[in-house]
Amino acid sequence: MGETVSEHKRFDESPATAEELQAARRLADAVEGGMAVAADVEALGVARLLETVSKPGVSDNLAARRLRNELTARAGGRPRLRSARSIVPIAAAVAGVAFLSVFFWRSPARTSDGVLAARQETARAAVVAVATSWAANDALSRRLAAVSEQQWRSRLTTMIDRGRFEQLAAESAQGTVADRAQPVPRATLALPTPGGTS
């Protein structure tokens, strides 16, 4: 018994073999969270056993509180992130409904009386609005044209009158006023005498 205990208490200072180095490295990786099964099962079992009886650290307590808060919030029905797996069918359903809505809206099969009447009424109102607008525009155009013509005539008359006025003014200054405007001298006029003797 004493020999066995001393054997277990012996510290092996011999150089590590290549296999031992590899096994040591794999165990180290497994404890770090790496490839667990690549490690020696017996050594890994001991590592897991000791980790099991170890006391949780401060970081574990923080993680525990965070997880608890998240879980109670989700269980209480507060807004939460859904997993992608549960979102996919919902998104597909929404997309399907949207597609069908567009499809039926454009489809001639969608001709229920109410919808048809509503669409007819809308179309009629649109036509009336356009016709009213055209009529109003036509009247306005005619008024504008009349005003424009009157103004143009007035302006033309003014231009003619001004031209004639300037011509007359010039002739008057030169003494060559047109005959019709020139006064006939009274001496040249054969005026009938009283009693009929001329």
Binding site: K9, A16, A24, L27, V37, A43, L44, L49, R68, A75
Partner: protein
């Protein structure tokens, strides 16, 4: 299965978030120390635990009493999640199930009594681990204590033992082998 457990489930199914928090408080220690850490180690344990509870939360509304309590139901999820986690790292993870299990979850709901049993189980286990460590060479015991019980980094452990990090890895490996031989002694 206790009435308390059943009431807790009903409240959770009615959307009482705090009741799920209570279930978490009652079962977290069990799942971590007796199911998850022995299978995936402490480094990945929190991730697997979180996955376990998220799955449980999604499925608890369809949970029906069928002769097993909530703790066993959660433990089954945790085992499956630990296995999936291991497979992502190595497809031969089933080998880990060969590790002798003295840590099985008791067939009971997570009541206060079950909690006492768990703590007593862990206390005895811890005591036996310490006895085994005491029987090892002090450098082996120190390597195991620093790295696995206290969770210190490899570099920190190597520095404490005044060796290079790769040498510490070898010491730790030899220490686990020595521990296993000492542990198997009657």
């Amino acid at each position: 299965m206790s009435d308390d457990d059943r009431e807790l489930l009903e409240r959770i199914q009615q959307g009482d978030g705090e009741s799920f928090g209570k279930l978490y408080d009652r079962t977290r220690g069990w799942l971590l120390s007796l199911v998850i850490v022995p299978r995936v180690g402490r480094a990945d344990a929190e991730d697997v635990l979180a996955e376990t509870y998220r799955v449980a939360l999604e499925k608890i509304h369809s949970f029906r009493w069928q002769g097993i309590g909530l703790l066993h139901w959660l433990a089954a999820i945790a085992r499956r999640k630990a296995l999936e986690h291991g497979r992502r790292r190595d497809p031969r993870v089933e080998l880990l199930e060969d590790i002798p299990s003295m840590l099985d979850v008791p067939d009971d709901a997570p009541t206060a009594e079950a909690q006492m049993i768990r703590e007593e189980t862990l206390r005895r286990l811890r005591e036996r681990v310490l006895q085994t460590l005491a029987a090892l060479h002090p450098r082996y015991a120190e390597a195991l204590r620093l790295r696995l019980l206290e969770g210190r980094s490899r570099n920190e452990c190597a520095e404490t033992l005044s060796v290079a990090t790769p040498n510490f890895d070898v010491i730790l490996y030899r220490a686990t082998r020595a521990f296993a031989r000492e542990w198997e002694k009657p």
